[in-house]
């Protein structure tokens, strides 16, 4: 089998053009889905019998928590591909992921904390999920700080790729250890997000929102990736026709 299709796809001008035409689709689709999910979650879905309307925070908290993990895995896979097969485009993709992932992680932390105030009575509880998110935020910040500390983008790419791979091996261990730690310390009576006994009518907006966030991620990565491609191109003669 020939690899030419792959090399063509991974060639900077080609990728740049494809991403440019994909981005608007991602953008509009995500806007539509997020608006639909918001309406469904705030208006149509019934209130929780225990948590009342406060439960609606879940519709933004859970998808952003999901996106924070998802983005880290995408970033690490891209970094690994870039490191092993020396593909610049993959490194560029990893670089594009980091700020988006970090912002979703921050959002998950903030909304989790806001949700916790009425439920637990304090703004912060050392709950397993929140603690994991906090550590994930540290991982993102470390990744971005390392990347920023190199002047040469090529070295930044490879150094941060090593870190992302070490990090992604560590994420499950961190997750497990934090869960283990929190079950030892916390009484089981505390309400958790984990298995809310909610019916389908309450789940639909959740899935809609997750899908909307995924598409939004697609849009943002496309935009940033185009920028990262240009940064790595030392003579982008094709830019004139592309732009």
């Amino acid at each position: 089998m020939s690899w030419t299709w792959f090399h063509k796809l991974a060639s900077p001008p080609h990728a740049y053009r494809i991403l440019g035409s994909l981005a608007p689709w991602f953008g509009w689709a995500s806007l539509a889905l997020i608006l639909l999910a918001t309406w469904w979650g705030l208006v149509k879905a019934p209130a929780d019998y225990q948590q009342g309307d406060g439960f609606r925070i879940l519709y933004v908290h859970a998808p952003s928590a999901w996106m924070s993990m998802f983005t880290y895995v995408v970033m690490a896979v891209a970094a690994g591909v870039g490191l092993i097969w020396r593909i610049k485009l993959a490194h560029a993709a990893a670089a594009a992921c980091a700020p988006i992932g970090a912002s979703f992680t921050f959002l998950a932390l903030a909304t989790g904390s806001i949700w916790g105030k009425p439920m637990w009575g304090t703004w912060w509880v050392w709950d397993a999920r929140l603690t994991s998110e906090l550590l994930l935020l540290f991982l993102y910040l470390g990744y971005m700080a390392l990347r920023a500390s190199f002047d040469d983008p090529q070295r930044a790419d490879r150094a941060s790729a090593v870190l992302a791979l070490v990090g992604v091996i560590n994420v499950p261990i961190i997750h497990y250890s934090v869960n283990w730690w929190s079950t030892l310390h916390q009484p089981a009576s505390v309400t958790k997000f984990d298995k809310p006994s909610i019916d389908l009518a309450m789940l639909i907006p959740l899935f809609l929102m997750i899908a909307g966030f995924q598409l939004y991620f697609g849009w943002a990565v496309s935009r940033r990736l185009r920028g990262e491609i240009l940064r790595r191109e030392r003579n982008a003669n094709w830019l004139k026709e592309a732009a």
């Binding site: 002047d151 090529q154 030392r234």
Partner: protein, 210 residues
């Protein structure tokens, strides 16, 4: 297609430093007994070329061949036949001259006290063998680095400004060492500003242009 009799060959090497395309399709080959002197003004990419050969800098495009085969995927094997003398002497000031050789040259080949002493004698610093490298003069440090190169027992020498800090006697020593190395079937590639074996029959030049 391998150039006739060449042990080492570089084909269309390209390298970038930051935004600068510093090496453009550099190709050359070296036969046993040949000394390739890389010349050119400052910043033309002499060090870059030598570091690309050593694998200390990534090349973008191009191929290196050793004994007729691409070294891709065989770096460790190739490295073992390669002796490198860079800008830095790779010495530890807190260790004596003997210890420096033992701990660094010893990583490649098994050394005995006799071989270390013989080599120190060859580069003319045997009497300084037990002094910490910190207290050696700049020229003596360079000689110690040369001793490490000799002990590496490599077929291909990569020398980056080998005669820096050396006096006339030191330069003559480097010339003798290179000629001796070539007579035993070795190869050498060097970047040098100064005169170095300029009239010797083994010399070939590679002029890099900006």
């Amino acid at each position: 297609m391998v150039v006739d009799g060449a042990l080492f060959e570089a084909r269309e090497i390209n390298a970038w430093r930051g935004d600068r395309h510093i090496l453009r399709d550099v190709s050359f080959s070296v036969r046993p007994g040949e000394f390739l002197k890389v010349t050119g003004p400052n910043g033309v990419g002499k060090t870059t070329l030598l570091r690309v050969i050593c694998g200390l800098l990534p090349a973008e495009g191009g191929e290196l061949l050793w004994r007729g085969k691409s070294i891709r995927g065989r770096r460790d094997e190739f490295n073992f036949e390669l002796g490198h003398l860079g800008h830095l002497n790779s010495l530890k000031g807190d260790l004596t001259a003997r210890e420096n050789l033992k701990f660094l040259a010893g990583l490649r080949t098994t050394l005995t006290a006799q071989t270390i002493d013989a080599t120190l004698d060859r580069v003319g610093i045997l009497s300084r063998g037990d002094l910490p490298a910190r207290s050696l003069s700049a020229g003596q440090k360079r000689r110690l680095a040369l001793a490490r190169l000799l002990l590496a027992d490599a077929a291909l020498w990569i020398l980056d400004e080998p005669v820096t800090n050396l006096d006339t006697a030191g330069i003559r020593l480097v010339e003798e060492l290179i000629v001796d190395h070539l007579e035993h079937g070795g190869l050498a590639i060097a970047a040098a500003h100064q005169r170095l074996l300029d009239d010797a029959p083994c010399l070939r030049r590679l002029e890099l242009e900006p």
